[in-house]
């Protein structure tokens, strides 16, 4: 290493004719601009987000939590509190209750299921702990909001299907529209119009 650096030092100390010409005719600049110029004729890799494009992540993505139902539409969450127990940052609160109306897959359902996103680090341990596969970390990632209160999400919201269905493969950019609500800004995807980016 040392030898190498002394070599470099020797070379740079004497300015050659070639280098001088390069400087005079902006060769480096032209070379750089040429690359830039070339890219204007290749596919675009940037996204027009949030105005009219949005990236849909892969299934394995760990975003906002979602509580799922089974095929018959019954709530899968049985309020077992295991997610709460497994969470390293203690941001989940589950209060179970008895329900005999058949809303859930058992007579025990979550009366309250709440997550404090300000503390969540999206590690996914809660998902691993869930015995009924009720809890998944979904593909919602636009979590900024105008109020702190909004960072506490409860079952009522999480049990609604997220805009991106579970079956949807992801890994694409789709067309989207920017929607400004009073609580937050959302970019609404239109999954039917998509383009692969590679």
């Amino acid at each position: 290493m040392n030898e190498l650096s002394t070599d470099n030092h020797k070379n740079s100390s004497s300015l050659s004719i070639k280098d001088l010409l390069k400087k005079v005719f902006f060769i480096d600049l032209i070379q750089g601009l040429f690359i830039t110029f070339n890219y204007t004729f290749t596919k675009t890799i940037t996204e027009r987000y949030p105005d009219d494009e949005k990236w849909i992540p892969y299934k394995r993505f760990r975003g906002l939590h979602t509580l799922n139902r089974n095929k018959e539409g019954k709530e899968l969450c049985v309020g077992c509190e295991l997610c709460q127990k497994s969470c390293p940052t203690q941001c989940i609160t589950v209060i179970p209750m008895e329900d005999k109306t058949g809303k859930g897959i058992a007579d025990r359902i979550a009366y309250r299921w709440e997550i404090n996103l300000l503390r969540c680090m999206f590690c996914g341990l809660c998902e691993d702990a869930c015995p009924t596969e009720a809890l998944k970390l979904g593909r919602e990632y636009e979590l900024a909001s105008f109020s702190m209160q909004r960072q506490i999400r409860s079952k009522e919201e999480l049990i609604k299907p997220q805009p991106i269905p579970v079956e949807f493969e992801g890994g694409v950019i789709v067309r989207a529209t920017l929607e400004k609500g009073d609580k937050e800004i959302k970019v609404k995807p239109d999954l039917s119009v998509q383009k692969r980016w590679w």
């Binding site: 077992c80 179970p96 209750m97 008895e98 058992a106 007579d107 025990r108 015995p131």
Partner: protein
């Protein structure tokens, strides 16, 4: 002693110790499932198998005792694989629905599977299912029989300890049916002990159903507030809501058992109608106000009474802590300069004093286990199975393991009768005469040795006929009782507070005790109290004639009955009721109501609205036992810590409120930073508590006397003989006066009143606990089948019951718990307003209203209306 080697470690241990216990001593834990230390041995699960060197078959360590020279292996490969297979078998039919199951997180099956069990199961067959949905077994139990592992702990505890035996199962082996109710749920005590011992989630508590997980709960160890047994329990809260009460296997005299009240009577704590803000009367209504204003109003009311020279009275409930009772009596005596102070309003004040003397309360007493180390146990004047259920369990459990004659004397049948050799049924209020009869027999046979017996003259006119006539008891029973007593060397006399209601001839008890001692018998006295801190109240001096530490005085103070009496004549200027619902408690409701109306200024400090609070001029919100620190003293003089589980909902604990009132009255030396400081002050006043402080009371409490700080407390004491020399005992004899109202043709039945196992006094606390209240949603009048036939009344029929003073509609429960001619109604239910029916004739000698009985008639409703 036997020397055994366990996993190579040699220990020497008592003969007959179970291998299980020996291994624990040696430091090896053997898993168990069906084993329970205080129940009979079953050895059905085989999880506890161990290898004994030299024996081919593995042995269950929970039933096999050690033998000298034995070599035991608990961790050998054979044992490990056998253990794992046994667990595999338990799991073969187990549904594994842990996420739903309420036991999850504290399930013994989960724990042992995790620790020792197989990681997978080879069984692919469908699991056996008894039920598709959990079902409600009783008002307190919900069951999922699929999870049952047939350990029969529930069956055993219900039969052996609780003594009702409503659980069972049929068939054997893999075909075993579900373990569940084999009798009607009305026979169930609703005590929940089966739930507590069930190792899995087969029997579950209804009130705790799907409320939480054990790891979310914060618990404090405290003492039950409902009766004088003083069971230790753990109140568990999730956030600020108390969600359940459990008990610990190794702590307290109750050893894991609790009764229905202790286990389920907590809902009142978070009840929505709790009194949370102070209220002051404005004209006809009570208006919410601030603490400052309320306390100022109290000060003004009390000062006015003082200035006008009117009487001031104070009645504190004996469910307040020792510290609060002490402060209350300090406020009354020290600040308001009056001895008109009492705890509870049900008893004759003078009789309480006599009782305290006869039962030698000031000398201490025995622990319950000591008292039960006896040949004959005489239980008198107490519905023990209903009032002190856990004492009943303890007696049953101990009497099951050894020879002990139990003699029960009570007007109404009860569970413990099954364990008794003799049950004497007598007319309500005639306990003293029963004792007189027994004493008479003993005296007649031992005239020579008993010639110095004090008060023997009173026995002269007590003939066999007279006793039978007053008590309505067969003379043979009394003969049998005296026979058992004379044949024993050690006799424990357990006397309950019922004798304080109709205390005539309570002196016979004093004579009987003395006579037996003269005859060379070892007499142990065991007082039974129905309220959690009744004994504490006496020890703290909440009695007109007793100063803290049992300093008896002959003061001029009035007891509760005297105060009410004076109030009815308009002589009372101010009355301070701390936690006492006098209208439900006082024998004669009509009279007490009138007395409260005549009282110029009434302060009520209570946690829940009662009838009495409606009469209040100022209401100060009280705090429940879960909201403060303090101590209770149980019947066996054990001082135990009551701990705070949640902050006082009304903002102040009772002791703080009393201090505030004192401060408002300009008193300087009644400011404390904690109950422990109050305790230290009172300990300084009474030598028997001198060495006790709050820190020292963990975990099991201390039995006084404990004269200095290094003293461990005194479990057994009281070897001295009778403190008054022969023939010189002070007598305050009262003849038996027949009930002022004897049944006649017009009102042919006797109505007696008392309480039910599931309720506590006026029921204002227990009725708020749905788990309990559901069991007796409607008060019913107990009627003997014989009378039911006589009046042509069916079970559950509604009838009109009337006395000379009032009438009420009530449902009839036909049962042989009551004798023919006697009916029973509990006083827990406000709707029933039992005390409208009771007798307002004051006992002419001791002025106590006849609480236990009056004459009534019942009529069929359809014929009447």
């Amino acid at each position: 002693m036997a020397t055994v080697k366990i996993n190579g470690k040699e220990i020497t241990i008592d003969d007959g110790t179970l291998i299980l216990d020996a291994a624990k001593t040696a430091g090896f834990d053997i898993p168990t499932m069906c084993f329970h230390a205080r129940l009979s041995k079953l050895a059905s699960c085989r999880v506890c198998l161990v290898e004994i060197v030299g024996q081919k078959k593995l042995q269950p360590s929970c039933v096999t005792p050690v033998m000298h020279g034995m070599e035991v292996l608990t961790e050998s490969p054979v044992v490990k694989s056998a253990r794992s297979s046994m667990i595999e078998l338990l799991l073969a039919n187990h549904p594994l629905d842990c996420p739903v199951c309420d036991k999850g997180g504290e399930c013994e099956l989960q724990d042992i599977t995790f620790k020792f069990g197989p990681r997978q199961s080879p069984f692919g067959d469908n699991k056996r299912r008894f039920n598709e949905e959990d079902y409600i077994l009783s008002p307190v139990i919900v069951q999922n029989a699929n999870r049952c592992i047939q350990c029969k702990r529930c069956v055993r505890i219900c039969a052996e300890t609780v003594g009702v035996g409503v659980l069972g199962s049929i068939e054997r082996g893999a075909k075993t049916g579900e373990t569940s109710f084999v009798r009607e749920y009305l026979d169930c005590d609703h005590c929940g002990n089966c739930i507590e011992v069930c190792p899995v989630g087969s029997l579950m508590s209804r009130s705790y159903r799907y409320k939480s997980r054990p790891w979310d709960l914060k618990g404090v160890d405290t003492v039950c507030v409902y009766c004088g047994t003083g069971c230790q329990l753990t109140v568990q809260a999730r956030k600020d809501e108390v969600v359940r009460v459990i008990s610990k296997p190794e702590e307290g005299i109750n050893n894991e058992t609790l009764c229905a009240r202790g286990r389920y009577g907590y809902s009142f704590i978070n009840s929505i109608d709790r009194l949370l803000v102070p209220m002051v009367r404005m004209g006809n209504t009570l208006e919410p106000t601030t603490w400052e204003d309320a306390v100022r109003a109290v000060r003004n009311g009390l000062s006015e009474a003082i200035n006008k020279g009117k009487k001031i009275g104070g009645i504190a409930s004996s469910r307040l802590s020792n510290e609060e009772l002490y402060l209350f009596q300090k406020l009354m005596r020290g600040v308001l300069k009056t001895n008109n102070i009492d705890s509870g309003s049900r008893w004759d004040t003078a009789a309480v004093k006599t009782y305290a003397e006869i039962m030698e309360l000031s000398k201490g007493g025995l622990s319950i286990y000591d008292a039960l180390n006896t040949d004959t146990l005489l239980i008198l004047g107490f519905g023990i199975s209903d009032e002190n259920p856990v004492t009943d369990y303890i007696i049953r459990r101990i009497s099951g393991n050894k020879k002990m004659n139990i003699i029960m004397a009570s007007p109404r049948g009860m569970k413990l009768d099954n364990s008794a050799v003799l049950s004497i049924r007598h007319n309500p209020g005639t306990e003293g005469v029963i004792i007189g009869g027994i004493l008479k027999l003993i005296y007649d046979k031992n005239i020579n040795s008993l010639k110095n017996l004090g008060g023997k003259d009173y026995l002269k006119d007590l003939s066999k006929e007279k006793v039978s006539d007053i008590t309505k008891t067969a003379w043979q029973d009394i003969e049998a009782a005296s026979g058992y007593i004379m044949a024993s060397n050690t006799i424990t006399v357990a006397v309950g507070s019922d004798v304080l209601r109709v205390p005539s001839r309570i002196e016979f008890l004093r004579m009987l005790i003395e006579a037996l001692r003269i005859l060379g018998k070892d007499v142990k006295l065991f007082p039974l109290f129905d309220r959690s801190n009744q004994r504490g109240a006496l020890e703290m001096g909440v009695h007109p004639d007793i100063l803290p530490g049992y300093n008896f005085i002959d003061g001029d103070g009035l007891g509760a009955d005297g105060i009410i009496d004076a109030a009815s004549r308009g002589e009372v200027g101010a009355l301070y009721l701390a936690g006492e619902d006098i209208l439900s408690d006082f024998p004669d409701g009509v009279f007490a109501r009138e007395a409260l109306r005549q009282t110029k200024f009434l302060v009520v400090q209570d946690i829940l609205p009662t009838e009495t609070t409606e009469f209040a001029d100022v209401i100060l919100p009280g705090s429940s036992h879960a909201e403060k620190d303090g101590t209770f003293t149980n019947g066996e003089r054990r001082i135990q810590l009551v701990r705070k589980a949640i902050e006082p909902l009304g903002g102040k604990a009772d002791w703080e409120t009393i201090c505030l009132v004192a401060k408002a009255l300009g008193i300087k030396n009644m400011e404390y930073s904690s109950p422990s400081e109050i305790w230290d002050e009172l300990a300084g006043l009474a030598p028997m508590f001198a060495g006790v402080n709050h820190k020292k009371l963990e975990p099991d409490g201390i039995q006084w006397p404990c004269p200095d700080i290094d003293h461990p407390g005194t479990a057994i004491m009281y070897t001295e003989k009778f403190n008054r020399p022969n023939g010189k005992a002070l007598f305050n004899f009262r003849e038996h006066i027949a009930s002022a109202e004897v049944p006649d043709d017009k009102y042919p039945l006797i109505l007696s009143t008392g309480r039910r196992r599931q309720h506590y006094n006026n029921g204002s606390m227990t009725r708020r606990s749905n788990a309990i209240f559901n069991q007796w949603p409607e008060e019913s009048l107990e009627l003997n089948p014989f009378d039911a036939r006589r009046f042509n009344i069916k079970d559950s029929e509604k009838v009109l019951a009337s006395s000379r003073r009032g009438e009420m509609e009530v449902k009839v429960h036909v049962t042989d718990r009551v004798q023919p001619g006697i009916t029973f109604l509990a006083f827990h239910n406000r709707d029933a307003l039992t005390n409208l029916l009771t007798n307002d004739a004051l006992d002419p000698v001791c002025k106590i209203p006849e609480y236990k009985s009056c004459a009534i008639k019942i009529e069929k409703l359809n014929g009447h209306k």
